[in-house]
Subunit: 284 residues, 2 copies
């Protein structure tokens, strides 16, 4: 499998993670500007469409393979934008988006992975998690929604879970959308300034923002503890929306390319069917 | 609500239905050729995106409104093409596609509407049914999967069900993709001729095709019995793929326009939040 320069640059190396050392406004691995980036993303569409259709077709021949894109990031980091601009390039028939909000009472009565399991893509699908099981070691840690021993247990449980998914044919692409505190402030201000965006704003967002440093630390620990060979994390600089969209498109494209997807071979008598069709009693 | 010439032309009038009298190769209500049609569909994208976001936003303010597009048609009539080319124009976050295959054992142990209910879009969504509860009066009638009394009961049950959905804020757009037997034959032959399309071909398709006239009759009865004021049927000539895609885009656009969707008004103190953001303790 050949990895693109963008994927190479974004893949988190093993070891301690310091998010303050990763530039949120950069475009690593891409040698171009905004217009070039938008063009490069649009240019991926035909190949993404072809590979996604092959993945889908493979399923009809019994393949279990599927893809799971995990999107994590602070409020305003652009998970919705990725869904619209990058995932939107792919045939919606083959996409399953699952958004995880605050867990319901029923969900809280189960292990944290229970609802995640239910949201997984079936064979042939590209699944996308808009937030994920990582919330259970992020907000859960910052807001003390579980005790430290339980949080500690979860890192291992997540790694075991993802290893099992990989064994079942799930290719996992984990993306942390990395924005600066200043960029978040600008985006929140923009939402407040524009009445058409008021619905996206929640006063609770500012309460969470006050815990910025604790969230960053929670992300650093989570990234360090759960970036594995089989399911590595990618830190996607996301102050530039066009780079964020392009980068995730590239990660998806690399992953699909790496699957070496082939059109299924007919399991019926092709020539016989051609004859049947040619010789049928006229239909009208 | 203003209705477009296309919607006007496709809307099924009350009374007996004769599908042989409806040209499968026409482009009613549209005064242009293939290139114009593709351009007209692409030109809908910004307005569709805007309206869909408003529908989605409304949900956050407690609205229950949603849209349901029902796609029915013979094999190869292009339900998948509509999903890819028309529904693919809309932000995938706000779309829920449900494909109905042959019912499972569990589904068969329930009323035919049980699985339909579970596949409905939530508030704010554009739901699309790829096949639907209409299979239960189409293949079920042609193949005798239920006895005539039960089929008879279902027409009324469907009308009651759809009336209840409408009361709950669901705008229903029912589309019958109308292809000719010759066009189906050409499309099946194309699938057989191209190894990349073999996976789309199923020898059972030819067995169903042998019942073409019975299916047409089943459609005619279903259309006649279930085309109501609240949820009328549209017969979409579908030999021209571009017209089929355009027409369904237009029906969706008309429906969204008719909802007169407004951005929700903030339920928080906008000026107060602006001050809170401006005066926050520096975050980093």
């Amino acid at each position: 499998m050949t990895t693109s320069p963008i994927a190479e640059a974004l893949r988190l190396p093993a070891g301690p993670v310091d998010l303050t050392a990763i530039d949120t406004d950069a475009a690593p691995g891409f040698d171009g500007r905004k217009a070039d980036g938008k063009e490069a993303l649009a240019a991926m569409e035909p190949e993404l469409a072809d590979l996604q259709e092959r993945l889908w077709a493979e399923r009809t021949a019994g393949s279990e393979r599927r893809v799971l894109v995990v999107l994590q990031g602070m409020d305003t980091s652009g998970k919705g934008g990725v869904l619209r601009h990058t995932i939107g390039l792919v045939d919606p028939q083959g996409v399953r988006i699952t958004s995880f909000k605050a867990p319901t009472e029923e969900e809280r009565a189960h292990d944290f992975l229970w609802r995640i399991e239910k949201g997984l893509p079936s064979a042939g699908f590209i699944g996308v998690f808009d937030r994920s099981h990582y919330e259970d070691v992020l907000i859960a840690r910052v807001r003390g929604l579980a005790d430290p021993g339980e949080i500690e247990r979860r890192y291992g449980a997540i790694n075991d879970f993802e290893a099992r998914l990989a064994d079942q044919g799930v290719s996992i692409i984990k993306c942390m959308l990395h924005v600066s505190a200043d960029e978040q402030k600008a985006r929140l201000a923009e939402r407040l300034a524009n009445p058409e965006k008021h619905w996206k704003y929640n006063p609770g967002d500012l309460d969470e923002r006050a815990h910025w440093a604790e969230y960053r630390r929670a992300y650093e620990v989570a990234l360090e503890r759960t970036s594995t060979q089989i399911a590595p994390w990618h830190v996607v600089p996301s102050d530039k929306k066009w780079f964020r969209n392009l980068a995730i498109g590239q990660l998806l494209l690399d992953t699909l390319r790496g699957l070496d997807l082939q059109w299924p071979v007919a399991d019926f008598d092709v020539e016989g069917e051609k004859r049947r069709l040619a010789e049928e009693t006229p239909v009208r």
